[in-house]
């Protein structure tokens, strides 16, 4: 015997089914849209930055003819002397070369406008070069000099020249000169090596990321040296030796909370304790690394604990069964197997620290520093803070530099994170 459903109900169900399926499509659609929104933002963000930053790989140079007299470099006895070189007006030599191209430029104002076309550091760079190659003295040289950042931006098409002359950084006269130089093939875009070999500078065309990259590397090194042993020891303690109870609970609550404390609070701690109480040097990668290690310690502890917990308990039991002590089982058998997981957690912690800037602003790593740091107590800055400094500058050229620095930083971080993901997958398969 079969139950009959009244046609009224089946009809209702059929009708409602359509509505229910529409709702289903709706939810699917919104879900997919959300994901695509996130992906679209990622593409726009990276695309926008790449679009603005890649041009900073090239720098405009101008070719000038210069002759360096003996007296610029040699002392009375005919020897190369740094002191004589120091007194020589190298900027003047470069400017002389430029004026030779435009003999019509007359009067103080016009000449100064012409001088502004080459980089303010061109003379200094030239001096360094001649000092290393004294055989170039006393002969006509054709040298490629860096142009100023304004010329560079104009040549790259980043300057809006349709606005009134007073609204832009280059005058009509200067534009005419640049066009003339370009027409006679004296302007050339070359690879911007100094971006990778120098530290910050007031002149965008000489500013580089080496100083910040070194600062970052030192800070991360200090952080690793401090954090890794501490994190591994705490993780072993919490997983193997801690007796369940109030103290252990309290430690765990503390670690979990520290992981969620805003990074800037660690900066305040560093300022109050390391700088003001212990009188450590401001802006030093040493202090920066210490602050970063406070910040990443909970992350790495949590990751290390997970890694230790993931080691099958049979390993420990076997070790204990064969007569190993608790400590031997932990250090000689479990820890080596947990090491890949610890490593993955460490990479994630390093990536987090490498991108962090807020706490470092608090301890003065935001200063303008022209020298590449050589020790951990030298004043320095780090990559993200360098990006912050450049993006606060008015010149369009610094905007370009900041974008390129971001590109390198983000690529590096993505590679690190991918390595962590791949490592984790690799070892998960092995277990």
């Amino acid at each position: 015997m079969e139950t009959k459903i009244s046609p009224r109900y089946t009809d209702m169900i059929t009708r409602s089914l359509k509505r229910r399926h529409r709702k289903e499509t709706c939810l699917r659609f919104f879900g997919l849209t959300s994901i695509l929104f996130g992906l679209a933002f990622l593409v726009i963000l990276l695309g926008n930055i790449a679009n603005n930053g890649l041009s900073a790989l090239l720098q405009t140079y101008v070719e000038l003819e210069v002759t360096v007299p003996d007296s610029a470099l040699l002392d009375a006895e005919g020897k190369v002397s740094e002191e004589v070189a120091f007194d020589t007006n190298w900027d003047g030599l470069v400017k002389k070369g430029l004026r030779a191209k435009f003999p019509d430029a007359s009067g103080m104002r016009e000449r100064r406008a012409l001088d502004q076309l080459v980089s303010a550091n061109a003379g200094f760079d030239f001096k360094t070069r001649i000092l290393h190659n004294p055989e170039l003295l006393n002969q006509p040289l054709t040298v490629w000099f860096k142009t100023s950042d304004e010329v560079d931006q104009y040549v790259k098409g980043n300057m809006n020249v349709s606005v009134d002359e007073s609204q832009r950084r280059l005058s009509d006269q200067q534009l005419a000169w640049i066009d003339e130089l370009a027409a006679s093939g004296l302007l050339e875009r070359r690879f911007n090596t100094s971006f990778f070999t120098q530290a910050d500078s007031r002149e965008p065309e000489s500013a580089g990321i080496l100083g910040a990259a070194m600062g970052s590397a030192m800070a991360i090194l200090v952080m690793l040296v401090l954090t890794l042993p501490l994190a591994v020891m705490s993780a072993i303690y919490l997983e193997y030796f801690a007796k369940p109870g109030r103290v252990t609970d309290f430690i765990e609550v503390n670690i979990n909370n520290l992981a969620a404390v805003p990074s800037i609070v660690f900066g305040l701690l560093g300022l109050a304790v390391f700088l003001n109480f212990f009188q450590m040097p401001r802006s030093a990668p040493l202090v920066g690394g210490m602050v970063l290690s406070l910040m990443t310690l909970p992350t790495i502890i949590i990751a290390s604990r997970a890694a230790i917990r993931a080691v099958p308990s049979s390993i420990r039991d076997a070790a204990l069964g064969l007569g190993a002590s608790n400590m031997q089982a932990a250090l000689d058998h479990v820890l080596p197997m947990a090491m890949p997981g610890v490593l993955t957690g460490t990479i994630i912690g390093v990536a987090q620290a490498l991108g962090e800037s807020a706490p470092l602003l608090m301890i003065g790593m935001v200063a303008f520093i022209v020298d590449v740091p050589t020790t951990v107590t030298d004043p320095a800055t780090v990559m993200p803070v360098q990006i912050f400094i450049w993006s606060n500058s008015a010149e369009r050229a610094f905007y370009e530099k900041a974008s390129l620095a971001i590109l390198f930083l983000v690529l590096f971080l993505i590679v690190m994170n991918l390595t962590a993901v791949l490592l984790r997958r690799h070892f998960e398969r092995h277990h």
């Binding site: 229910r20 709702k23 289903e24 939810l27 699917r28 919104f30 879900g31 997919l32 849209t33 959300s34 994901i35 929104f37 996130g38 992906l39 933002f41 990622l42 926008n48 930055i49 042993p229 020891m233 705490s234 072993i236 303690y237 030796f241 309290f250 430690i251 609550v253 503390n254 979990n256 909370n257 520290l258 404390v261 805003p262 800037i264 609070v265 660690f266 305040l268 701690l269 109050a272 304790v273 406070l294 310690l297 400590m327 490498l354 991108g355 962090e356 800037s357 807020a358 602003l361 608090m362 003065g364 935001v366 993200p384 990006i387 912050f388 993006s391 983000v410 971080l413 994170n417 991918l418």
Partner: protein, 425 residues
């Protein structure tokens, strides 16, 4: 007689005795001797310059230190001779300290050597020390928390000495810059935190309005609808967003998003500030999306399979299952995830520092410029600041507010997620 422990433990025991006590002795000595030296020379300075007050004496001391280091030269004969003494004293103490450490280390090494007899249980001894080391490194987490609370509280209390707590908590006016000139005209800066807090909440609200729907829907789609292959592509790609440094988001917010919102506003006839809360909040929202989606994903996965299967078995569509079964079951956990995200947004610094102004307007109009707690902390503490002025101290008062707020949110979130875990275990 056979030794009671493996031979390497005797060696490890010797290493521990040789280096660890000497290391701690060195740290304590360095700390104590620098304090003693400073106190002694501050006394000498007080004798040599009877008119100087405490601040002046500190200044003279700093000058003397620099003269002794050779960074600074001085015309002042008294200071010069003090500096010479200081350098000499410092050198003597350093040398003495070095010899003491070496002596201690060697004598303890000798002690360990004598102890290394077959009947000595070296392993137990080494393991005891290691265990102590492990325990003390685990307690560092507690130490850090204590240090945070203590340092923030100490500085904040100094601030509340000159500025009443109640006015700080309820004042409607924030303009710390007046206080810079306090030395001349008497302290008149105004530190009412309500507008700063209001700005923080406004930006957090905008960020949550962007990230909660997008993050939650992505998580639902990925865990319930997406093909596993698609999921394996989407998930890591979305996580790239989480790995991008916040300074990059700030850069984008300040230099791309803000002008973009401004030009849209202009075309609609609206006056959008170039440092609008909207731009910073929206970009911050995008930053938090992966955070919310991965936390929600965890929560949704924690809901037992049986609930899903029961709903689907009764003929519910997938979307009905999600809305009527999954989400209600996961609700407390989801709220916990959102609280964590809010705490993240409140503490986020770089985006707002770069994209938002420092003027504290008490407004809830997202098109206007506001300021946040973190922006103020950075603004008050970067650049050349006199450390003891109320202006810089107020940053620590804001810092402790930030710490308390985020701590409260974290504890609440933890309690909620623990509750859901217990419910389904």
């Amino acid at each position: 007689m056979r030794p009671r422990s493996l031979l390497r433990y005797y060696g490890q025991n010797a290493v521990i005795w040789t280096f660890i006590p000497a290391f701690f002795f060195l740290i304590v000595c360095a700390f104590l001797s620098s304090i003693l030296l400073e106190q002694y020379f501050l006394g000498l300075i007080a004798e040599a310059y009877p008119d100087a007050d405490t601040a002046n004496r500190d200044l003279l001391f700093a000058q003397m230190e620099n003269v002794a280091l050779g960074v600074l030269s001085t015309e002042d004969g008294v200071l010069q001779s003090l500096a010479t003494d200081y350098a000499e004293f410092g050198n003597t103490i350093q040398r003495a300290r070095g010899w003491l450490v070496i002596l201690l280390s060697l004598s303890l090494a000798g002690f360990a050597y004598l102890k290394a007899m077959p009947q000595f249980r070296a392993r137990e001894s080494v393991e005891k020390v290691l265990g102590g080391l492990f325990l003390s490194s685990a307690t560092i987490a507690i130490l850090i928390t204590v240090a945070i609370v203590a340092s923030l509280l100490l500085e904040a209390l100094r601030f509340f000495d000159v500025y009443p707590l109640w006015d700080f908590l309820t004042g409607l006016h924030w303009s710390p810059n007046i206080a810079v000139h306090a030395d001349q005209v008497g302290f008149s800066g105004s530190f009412g935190m309500i507008p700063v807090l209001g700005g923080t909440l406004l930006i957090t609200l905008i960020a949550m309005a962007v990230s909660v729907p997008v993050g939650l829907l992505s998580a639902i789609y990925m865990s319930e609808f997406a093909h596993p292959k698609l999921r394996n592509f989407f998930k890591p790609t979305l996580e790239i967003l989480a790995g991008i440094p916040t300074v990059v988001y700030g850069f984008f917010a300040a230099l791309t998003a803000a002008p973009f919102f401004r030009s849209i506003g202009l075309s609609l006839g609206l006056d959008v500030s170039s440092e609008s809360a909207l731009a910073a909040g929206a970009v911050m929202g995008v930053m938090i999306i992966p955070f919310i989606s991965s936390l929600s994903d965890d929560v949704i996965r924690a809901v037992p399979r049986s609930l899903r299967d029961a709903a689907l078995g009764l003929g519910a569509t997938r979307s009905e299952m999600v809305i009527k079964v999954l989400l209600p079951a996961a609700f407390p956990g989801l709220v916990g995830a959102f609280l964590l995200a809010i705490s993240r947004a409140i503490g986020e610094t770089m985006i707002v520092v770069m994209a938002v102004g420092t003027a504290a307007n008490l407004t809830f109009n997202p098109l206007e410029s506001v300021t946040t707690v973190t922006v103020q902390i950075v603004g008050l503490l970067t650049g050349d600041t006199v450390f003891d002025s109320p202006k810089t101290l107020s940053a620590f008062a804001l810092g402790i507010m930030l710490f308390v707020m985020t701590l409260g949110l974290n504890v609440a979130a933890l309690t909620l997620s623990r509750r859901i875990a217990e419910k389904y275990e």
